[in-house]
Amino acid sequence: MSDAPPAVALTAVAKRFGTGDGATLALTGIDLTVAAGEFVSLIGPSGCGKSTLLRVVADLVEPTDGTALVNGKSARRARLDQDYGIAFQQAGLLEWRTVLANVELPLALHGAGRDERRRRALELLELVGLSDFAGHRPSQLSGGMQQRVAIARALARRPALLLMDEPFGALDEMTRERMQTELLRICSETSAAVVFVTHSIPEAVYLSQRVVVMSPRPGRITHLIDVTLGHRDEDVRESGRFFAAITEVREALRGRSAVAQEATS
């Protein structure tokens, strides 16, 4: 791990929106390092700044203070180099492009050749199990399928980091659990690090090696919880360790955990 730079390194990051009396402190004193290949979830109540934090990493929001490094580069450089892939709650597919052309888009923007683009996009559609839908329009797909296209698109440039902002938030529970298992499989195949924003405790616990618990006003990290579940499969969801981890995160969200002191220091 020491040879590769961490996927994300945040030091003393703060973000203030507005100025003067109307200013709100969305984030303050954020220190967080995500190792290469690590899966980290950000969880917390609305307004705790978890999405803002993700957007700082993505260079969609510029921090007021502190530094954000992605793969050892500035967040801006990393964005322009497409060092990360990203998926939002809405798939955001372009309606006039086929599924295949949507996955090709990030490659096309970086001048990849037509054949190379096509080959890579087909490979990705196979990875997310949508090979049969390459020629379809996004509107012909279900919400879950659209989100899988969005994930394939995020992986197009083989990023070392995947940023996900409640990507399964709009899906029904059944689809959601299937997508979670799918995502873990994809991640193990690509060995990308993931920063995953969610407000679902089971989702955070099931997916992550580490859960970052945040609290609002001002937005800050209150707990870092390691999750050790070993290999994830559907049985894990019913195991005692799974429920123990869920309880730990829930307690942390209520601000009642012993580990709290260590994490904030």
Binding site: R79, Q82, Q90, G92, W96, P106
Partner: protein
């Protein structure tokens, strides 16, 4: 899908024809029911006259097209021939105006979409430009063009007419394209930013395709506006050769031949329809950029 598409077009065409027939029937019915001198209450005329001088029979209007032109006028053939050649000339002027107007409208929209400061500075004037009466503007433009030489090219009077047509045509394009270019939701513009796309790449890959549903109606409006602009400009600058001048010259013969006025008016209406119809072809060609109903 294409079969259903054709069905829709056929039905739309049938409706247009039906509306025309209904209009004709109404016209003749009015002549039949209302007395020649119209209907008066006291001194006020409440329904216009329906005598043959004010409202010639449709058959007479149609017959006019076959009449020989009076000696000395251009062409010397039938009225239909003069109307057609005038239409062709005016359509050319309108087309030139349309092209210039669309180019200017698009350029303005892109500039306004690029920088908020340009939008704030320019948009009020874009709107203001359309409140100036065209009739007042046309002689001015004509006057400016009078002694203009551009790169060795002398300014031609017809160019003034096209410029005036462009002046009307750019407006719907500028407004429609601006709405279209700013229509993509934040999730899409942010995605493009995350892909490291430049502003021009975002314009080409996202904003332009997304603006097609806004551009098509704007282009239809612009086409109709260019036709109206060209005709009004011909009349107010006195340019010969087009349908505008023909309307005036036939109107002057109205006492002798009341039906003749209607020939160029029908022609002008036809020209407007043709211009808008041409834009409908774009509609079909750019179908894939239109929002689709969920069906396959």
């Amino acid at each position: 899908m294409s079969g259903r598409l054709r069905g829709v077009h056929v039905r739309r065409g049938a409706m247009v024809v039906l509306a025309l027939v209904a209009l004709g029937v109404l016209w003749e019915l009015y002549k039949l029911v209302v007395p020649d001198d119209g209907v008066r209450i006291g001194d006020g005329l409440v329904l216009p006259r329906s005598d043959d001088a004010s409202m010639p029979h449709l058959s007479e209007i149609v017959a006019v097209f076959g009449e020989r032109e009076v000696a000395g006028s251009a062409g010397g053939g039938t009225v239909a021939a003069s109307v057609l050649s005038s239409l062709w000339y005016s359509l050319g002027l309108a087309a030139a105006g349309f092209v210039v107007g669309v180019a200017v409208g698009l350029a303005l929209a892109v500039a306004m979409a690029r920088l908020a400061i340009i939008r704030r500075a320019v948009l009020p004037y874009v709107v203001l430009s359309q409140t100036v009466p065209l009739i007042a503007l046309a002689p001015l433009v004509y006057g400016w063009g009078g002694n203009l030489t551009l790169l060795g090219w002398e300014w031609q009077p017809w160019m003034s007419v096209s410029i005036i047509a462009a002046y009307l045509a750019f407006f719907p394009v500028a407004v429609g394209a601006l709405r279209g270019l700013t229509s993509p939701p934040p999730v899409q513009t942010e995605l493009l930013a995350c892909f490291g796309a430049s502003w021009w790449q975002t314009l080409l890959r996202l904003r332009l395709p997304a603006s097609v549903p806004y551009l098509i109606p704007a282009l239809k409006l612009a086409a109709a506006a260019a036709v109206v602009g060209a005709i009004v400009a011909e009349i107010s600058t006195g340019l010969a050769g087009g349908i505008g001048r023909l309307i005036i010259s036939y109107a002057q013969q109205a006492t002798g031949d009341p039906a003749k006025v209607y020939a160029p008016i029908l022609g002008a209406a036809l020209m407007g329809l043709a211009a808008v119809g041409l834009m409908s072809l774009l509609d079909v060609a750019l179908r894939r950029y239109q929002p689709t109903e969920v069906a396959s």
